[in-house]
């Protein structure tokens, strides 16, 4: 029994922490977020140079051969730094599909430049009508001789405005929520018939609504088997659910630490407000929420590493926990900061917004609890 990180994981943690401390303060983050791209190309280059974009990929694919624990190490620290660079969209989502389903040509054309930071990519996992059901796909891909013609809409495509490669799940057969009949396509963003409407999100990131109108592709664009893309999609979304949860744990800890520090420096009635029991107990609850979430995150990291049925169960549990505990910690931080927590100027408000966005991504607390309530697993 061992809950510690190994040497490589500690080095990884250390290098990210140093980068955040030295080069990624809140002002820098705000600058990158508000820039035209919505992130810093410079920073992204650094991520690639330091090997962080290579973490989950096999050595054969040019990666670091990291597992869920390594991903947890990275994401928790990106959370602590409130990083806006598109790590989730590129490495976890698009990368997750390509490493699982990509053939050698696709890996060399798409995955290698993604890992080296030269290609921006994303996965369009959501459709406007589907809510959190990733199998609910109305976008169609109809075979036309040697090619496919795609029509449909994708919503909340992270990094959609900057991505050069879009990975689009489309239905080649079956009914709208059928797990069978889903095919994954890799599409260049500048292909005729692709229209992209990019927008800012509440958490200082970027997403896009994408319309696909008679987009014509050759069979070379198919990632994996025609009609057999669901497994790859599901595993990748499970990865992403785990990843944003770890990011949330990082954010929750920062919020708790900052709130505690703030109450010690804020004086009212002639004393620091940290001396008030009503506030102390609320901060203890924030601390409990952080520790409980960390415990579930560690369980999930180990369960996902093991694989099997417990793995899905642990990820549902984790995202449910994050939904409940994250909301609580975020709202409490703002309440205890008082008026200052309401201002755009304070980093606390921005951590709160990112946390809130995460609670709504890849299934909210209710959605995951429903999965747990319907399964017999202990």
């Amino acid at each position: 029994m061992d809950f510690s990180l190994n040497e490589v994981q500690m080095m990884l943690a250390d290098s990210i922490e140093k980068f955040i401390a030295n080069e990624y303060d809140f002002d820098a983050r705000q600058k990158h977020s508000g820039s035209e791209l919505g992130y810093s190309e410079e920073v992204w280059k650094t991520f690639a140079e330091l090997g962080w974009t290579a973490v989950p990929f096999s050595e054969e694919d040019g990666g670091f051969d990291g597992g869920p624990v390594d991903m947890m190490v990275v994401m928790e620290r990106l959370g602590r730094g409130l990083v806006v660079e598109p790590y989730l969209a590129n490495v976890v989502l698009a990368g997750g599909i390509l490493r699982r389903g990509g053939n050698s040509t696709q890996k060399s054309e798409w995955l290698s430049p993604l890992i080296s930071g030269k290609l921006q990519a994303t996965l369009a996992f959501a459709e406007p009508q589907a809510r959190y059901d990733i199998a609910n796909i109305a976008t169609t891909a109809v075979r036309d001789g040697q090619s496919f013609v795609i029509n449909g809409s994708k919503g909340y495509v992270l990094n959609g405005g900057n991505a050069e490669l879009l990975i689009i799940p489309a239905r080649t057969s079956g009914s709208q929520s059928d797990e069978r009949g889903i095919t994954l396509f890799g599409i260049a963003a500048d292909t005729a018939g692709v229209s992209i409407q990019s927008y800012d999100t509440i958490d200082g990131q970027r997403a896009a609504e994408i319309q696909l109108t008679n987009v014509s592709l050759t069979a070379a664009s198919v990632i994996g088997e025609v009609g057999g893309g669901f497994q790859t999609l599901q595993s990748t979304i499970a990865d992403a659910t785990f990843a944003v949860s770890a990011e949330a744990v990082g954010i929750m800890n920062v919020l708790t630490e900052k709130t505690i520090a703030y109450t010690k420096s804020r004086f009212q009635f002639g004393v620091p407000i940290s001396s008030f029991q009503a506030l102390q107990h609320r901060m203890v609850e924030m601390y409990v929420a952080c520790e409980q979430s960390r415990a579930i995150m560690m369980w999930a990291a180990m369960a996902v590493t093991e694989g099997g049925e417990t793995s899905a169960h642990a990820v549902h549990s984790l995202k449910y926990q994050i939904g409940i505990a994250g909301t609580r910690v975020g709202e409490e931080a703002v309440q205890i900061y008082g008026g200052m927590g309401m201002t755009w100027e304070m980093d606390v408000a921005h951590y709160f917004k990112r946390l809130t966005a995460i609670t709504l991504m890849f299934g909210n607390a209710d959605w995951h609890l429903d999965r747990l309530a319907g399964s017999a697993t202990p």
């Binding site: 901060m283 560690m298 549990s317």
Partner: protein, 400 residues
């Protein structure tokens, strides 16, 4: 990062499981499964059984009769104990006064008291709380006045769990009132209850059970040789004891099996109705409790792994009492809800062997669900109320 057990640890688990299945008194397990209170005789008998096995004191040093188990072995033992529905050790001797005596007592006291605690020849109870001293324990008023080679005790202790069965009581008593801080001038004394001046008055709790007592001391003579450690240092010793108490209250292992019993009850079709396990609204509450349990379990495992690698338990261990007791109460309330009408009959002693079969009402553990629910309100109150626990975390962990 992993939570796998070694081959030796797995073999140890099998050995413990076999013990509870084959050597432990099975009638005691049966009562526990039905949530029927144990008699004094039951409690003495199973403790003596475990003593004969050599496992009476998992946490004590080997030189005093402890098992010498690693923290992982202790965890496995507690897990198997709960899995078998075996009762937890009565804490007053083994977890509370024993460690105080071997840590702060003299050689004579160790020789005199420890073997009987181990073999369960003496039943101990705890004299901490007083009518005027609950959360504010340092305001205690039991007086111990030195007269020659005796202290003379006058005052009252309360909430004394199973004091009606006890032979001895360990007390925090005031030996000096003229002190700068109230925490000073308190001493830790061991008192034989079978002597003039000690009277035990029952307090019946809301579940109708006589579990706790008020103990009156009227000019009770206590020889000076029964003072543990230094006079006036009792508060320091007592605080150490409270930490032991908090660690034993959590009962993480037990919660796992409470949850599994709850799930079995849900799966049962009660009196022709659809099983509750088909009711999504209810099962969502059960699922949420399971997630909370998993978090608690892994917080405990983290603490355990940290201790096993020779480090002190991390600050995360401070949340165990709060989370463990509040989750326990939540599971109790789900069990109550799941039991429906059959939580309501209040038929005392109906599981005694002498009780006429035809007069029994209901069946199985749901008939005790309400009593367990009511009785367990205590867990967030005793051992330092959960509000006091939050004060402690605020001060010592968060530095507020």
């Amino acid at each position: 990062m992993n939570v796998t057990f070694t081959t030796a640890e797995n073999e140890f688990r099998s050995e413990v499981r076999k013990y509870f299945k084959e050597e432990f008194p099975q009638d005691v397990l049966e009562k526990q499964r039905k949530a029927i209170p144990l008699t004094r005789e039951d409690t003495v008998r199973w403790h003596k059984n475990i003593y004969r096995k050599g496992w009476a004191a998992p946490s004590w040093p080997v030189e005093y009769g402890g098992t010498g188990w690693s923290s992982v072995q202790k965890y496995i033992f507690a897990d198997e104990q709960a899995r078998a529905s075996a009762p937890a050790f009565l804490p007053f001797g083994i977890s509370m006064v024993g460690p105080i005596i071997y840590t702060f007592g003299n050689d004579e006291q160790k020789k005199r008291f420890l073997p009987d605690i181990l073999e369960f020849n003496t039943w101990w109870c705890q004299g901490y709380s007083e009518p005027g001293a609950g959360s504010d324990l340092a305001s205690l008023k039991l007086r111990a006045d030195l007269e020659g080679d005796h202290y003379v005790l006058n005052g009252t202790k309360t909430w004394t769990t199973l004091g009606q069965y006890a032979d001895w009581i360990f007390c925090l008593a005031r030996t000096n009132s003229d002190v700068a801080r109230r925490q000073e001038g308190i001493s830790f004394v061991l008192v034989n209850m079978k002597q003039p001046g000690v009277s035990v008055k029952p307090i019946v709790l809301l579940d109708g059970e006589h579990e706790v007592n008020e103990i009156h001391f009227d000019n009770v003579q206590v020889p000076v040789k029964n003072l543990v450690g230094e006079e006036g240092k009792g508060w320091t010793y007592g605080k150490v004891l409270l930490q032991h108490e908090r660690a034993t209250i959590t009962g993480v292992a037990n919660l796992k099996y409470m949850l599994s019993r709850l799930c079995s009850l849900c799966a049962k079709s009660i009196k022709g109705a659809e099983p509750l396990s088909d009711d999504r609204t209810f099962m969502r509450k059960v699922a949420a409790a399971k997630v909370e349990f998993k978090a608690l379990e892994y917080t405990e495992l983290r603490t355990l792994a940290s201790v096993a690698s020779g480090k002190a338990p991390g600050p995360e261990s401070s949340i165990l009492k709060i989370v463990g007791t509040e989750l326990r109460q939540r599971i109790d309330s789900l069990y109550l809800e799941a039991s429906g009408y059959y939580a309501l009959p209040y038929v005392r002693d109906q599981y005694d062997s002498t009780y006429p079969e035809e007069d029994r009402v209901g069946e199985g553990s749901e008939t005790n669900a309400a009593l367990v629910y009511f009785n367990d309100r205590k867990v967030s109150i005793y051992g330092g109320s959960n509000e006091i626990q939050r004060n402690i975390i605020a001060k010592h962990v968060l530095g507020l």
